[in-house]
Amino acid sequence: MTRASVVVKNEVGLHARPAVVLIQTAQKFKSEIRFLKNAQSYNGKSMISLLSMGAKKGDLLTVTAEGEDEAEAINTITGLIDSFKD
């Protein structure tokens, strides 16, 4: 399993639109992708789960991936969250 931490920087956090982009990206990977926030775990490929997290600006998330393409998945996902602007 590979893991990395990332801080949400964009103003609205992981709301509906950024969440859609995030899910579409996560689904391209075979690995199981999870987000951890405040000791709760969220499924990176489920819209409802991701929205339930309610990640807002300044929140620290841990991303974990498990599977054949886990390293690439982590890099892409954390890079994407880092790149969200508004």
Binding site: Q40, S41, Y42, N43, K45, S46, M47, I48, S49, L51, S52, M53, G54
Partner: protein, 305 residues
């Protein structure tokens, strides 16, 4: 998990006689009536609990001469207690307030009687301090049975849940279930506040069950009683063909019956979940699987002939 005293004030609409330290929090479900301590006995004193002064403690304090009362409350408040709650709308003595201000302890008041406040606070703390996990699953109330539907992404959990809702069953949570351990052997599932009543159906998007089906289709929380795991059909796997006893799984160390349901095109999963729930209820009410024992009895009877 911990509950801030300031949150208790809001939750129970308590009167604040003295504002204590801002970070003061409650970590214990149990509550202490501090009569023994006020009378000077401090062995086994659980100072981390919420301390209650009811009618009896209050009248005892009033019966004391001034210097002794001052000494009694001073000693109690010197312990790092989270807060004192004075019940039944009783008034607070100046000594108590002075000592509370000195040590920075919360002194709160309620109009409720001691026993009714005790029950309400215990129930609240039990839930707020409960051990909890979140899992990827769906939770429904099917014929009154709390059914947790698990299985890998894309196997059809949400579609099965939707079909069950259409059949008149109730949705608690889609895709993200928060499980809390309440008491020694009770698991309660609920959803996240943000996605309450929402479901995602691939190809349609996010739907609001409350506005589509109304209040009769949703529940806020439910005890989890059985787990149904949807699995891809595997011709070599062993599936239960008789159902004489349940395989078990566990969440937060609490065991639950675990039913594996293989998924194949053409299988009506909603009907299978309904039957699993009904069957569970029947077993529960008859104290065991009556179908299998009846079958055994019939076979034995026929063999004797």
């Amino acid at each position: 998990m911990a509950v801030k005293v300031a949150d208790l004030v809001k939750e129970f609409d308590l009167k604040v006689y003295n504002e204590g330290l801002e970070g003061a929090e409650v970590n214990e479900v149990e509550i202490n009536r501090c009569g023994l301590q006020l009378s000077g006995y401090y062995d086994y004193f659980e100072h981390v609990r919420v301390q209650i002064i009811g009618n009896a403690e209050n009248s005892y304090l009033h019966s004391l001469p001034d210097p002794e009362r001052k000494k009694a409350v001073g000693k109690l408040l010197s312990y790092p207690i989270p807060c004192i709650v004075i019940t039944s709308g009783n008034t607070v003595s100046d000594d108590l307030l002075k000592e509370a201000a000195h040590y920075g302890r919360w002194v709160l008041g309620t109009h409720k009687s001691t026993s009714s406040f005790h029950v309400d606070l215990t129930l609240y703390l039990q839930s707020a301090l409960a051990e909890s996990i979140s899992i990827h699953a769906n939770l429904l109330d099917v014929y009154g049975v709390g059914v947790l539907i698990t299985g890998q992404s894309g196997i059809g959990k949400s579609e099965t849940a939707l079909e069950l809702i259409r059949n008149g069953h109730l949705l608690i949570a889609d895709d993200f279930v928060v499980i809390k351990k309440i008491g020694a052997d009770n698991l309660v599932g609920t959803c996240s506040e943000i996605t309450r009543n929402l479901m995602e159906i691939r190809g349609i998007g996010i739907i609001d069950i409350n506005s589509l089906f109304g209040l009769s289709a949703i529940r806020i929380q439910k005890n989890i009683e059985i787990v149904i795991n949807l699995e891809p059909w595997d011709d070599n796997a062993h599936y239960d063909r008789v159902g004489s006893e349940y395989e078990m799984t566990a969440y937060l160390d609490i065991k639950l019956p675990y039913i594996r349901v293989p998924v194949k095109p053409g299988r009506n999963l909603a009907a299978i979940v309904e039957i699993a729930a009904l069957n569970y209820r029947q077993n529960l009410m008859n104290g065991g699987n009556s179908v299998v024992s009846k079958l055994n009895e019939t076979i034995m009877r026929l063999q004797k002939k």
